[in-house]
Symmetry: C2
Subunit: 182 residues, 2 copies
C-alpha cells in the first residue's frame, strides 16, 4: 500500500503494510522534492522518478493519492493536479490499481474528525504506526495517512461501515489510546 | 514541433514542421481518446501511450501544451491538468523542452484575436497549413494551433514582437488571405 501526497515542491511518499486485523507497519516514508526554479517538465520528471523508485523498491499492491480540487489554493493547485496525474499514470504503468481520497476522507479515517489539523494527523499516524516521533514534514505524514485511509476504507466507492460498528478510525484511536497508557 | 491540447476524453495531438520563413506544413494530426467509464489511472495510461507514440514516431524537437487554469470548467479541469502534466513529463523523458501557452495566447497568435471562437481557429489553422478541409474535432485544431503558436512566438517568456512589425498572426492572416484569393 503506497500513499502519495502530490505536490511539485514536496511530494509525500508513504508505504505501509496493513494486516487483516488492520494493524499497520511503516515500510517507508519520504518526500520527493523538486527545485521551484526548475522548468515544469523537469520538475515533473523529478517527481516521477521518485515515485517510480518507490514503486520498484517496495512493489506495493495499490496506490492511493489525494484527490485535488480546483478551488483549493489556486497558485499551486495545477502543479498538484499534474503531480497527482503522474502518480496515477505510474500506478497503471506498474500494473497496480489506484484510487483517490479527499483530504476530509483521510482525516476522518485517521483521526475520526474530518477537519483535523496537521498535528492531529501526524500524531495519529505516529500512534497507529508506533513511531517514536512524528513523521515530518506534514507531506510525509499525509502520504502515510492516505495509505492507511485506503487500506481501511477500501476503494473510494465502497460502502461505509455498518451503523453501530466502530469505524476503523475509532478503533485505531481506541487502540492508540490503550497503547499510550501502557 | 508537437502541440498537445490536453484532455481525458479527447486529447488533441498535432505535429507541424515550421520553416525559418514561418511557413508551416502539417505532419500529423489526431486525437487520443479514453473511455469516460474507465478508471482514471487507465485513462491517463491511454493518453500517455498516445502522446508517447507520437513522440516516438515524429521525434519533435519541442512540445507545447495548453496552460490549464483552475477556474475553467470545474468538472473537467482536474483531468485536463493531469493530462497536461503527463504531456510535460513525456517531453522531459524524451529529452525535449516543453512550454505552455494560454488559450488567449494561442488564439491571438493564430487569428490575431485573443477571443477568437473555435471555428475561427480551425479556419486559420486550415489556411496556414493549406488543408483542404477544417481539422476536426476542435481538439485536433487546437493542438495544431498550439504547435504553430509556439513555433511563432517562441518560449512563453520571450519578448513580444517589436512595435510596428507585423505579428506572426497578422503575417499569416495576410498570407492566408492572399492564398484564398488565388
Amino acid at each position: 500500500m503506497i500513499g502519495i501526497d502530490p505536490g511539485l515542491t514536496r511530494c509525500g511518499v508513504g508505504v505501509v503494510d496493513v494486516a487483516p486485523d488492520r494493524s499497520a507497519r511503516l515500510v517507508h516514508v519520504g518526500v520527493v522534492r523538486s527545485a521551484p526554479d526548475a522548468r515544469i517538465e523537469k520538475r515533473l520528471q523529478t517527481i516521477a522518478a521518485g515515485i517510480r523508485a518507490a514503486l520498484e523498491e517496495f512493489m506495493p499492491d495499490v496506490l492511493a493519492v489525494e484527490r485535488v480540487f480546483a478551488q483549493h489554493n489556486r497558485n499551486t493547485v495545477m502543479g498538484t493536479a499534474q503531480a497527482s496525474g503522474i502518480a496515477l499514470l505510474l500506478a497503471a504503468e506498474h500494473g497496480i490499481p489506484a484510487d483517490t481520497h479527499t483530504p476530509t476522507e483521510v482525516k476522518a479515517a485517521i483521526t475520526g474528525y474530518g477537519a483535523a489539523d496537521k498535528l492531529q494527523v501526524q500524531t495519529m499516524v505516529a500512534r497507529i504506526l508506533r513511531l517514536d516521533e512524528l513523521p515530518t514534514p506534514a507531506d510525509a505524514a499525509d502520504a502515510l495517512a492516505l495509505a492507511l485511509c485506503h487500506a481501511w476504507r477500501g476503494p473510494s466507492a465502497a460502502a461505509a461501515a455498518p451503523a453501530g460498528a466502530l469505524t476503523p478510525a475509532q478503533r485505531a484511536w481506541a487502540d492508540a489510546e490503550r497503547g499510550a497508557r501502557r
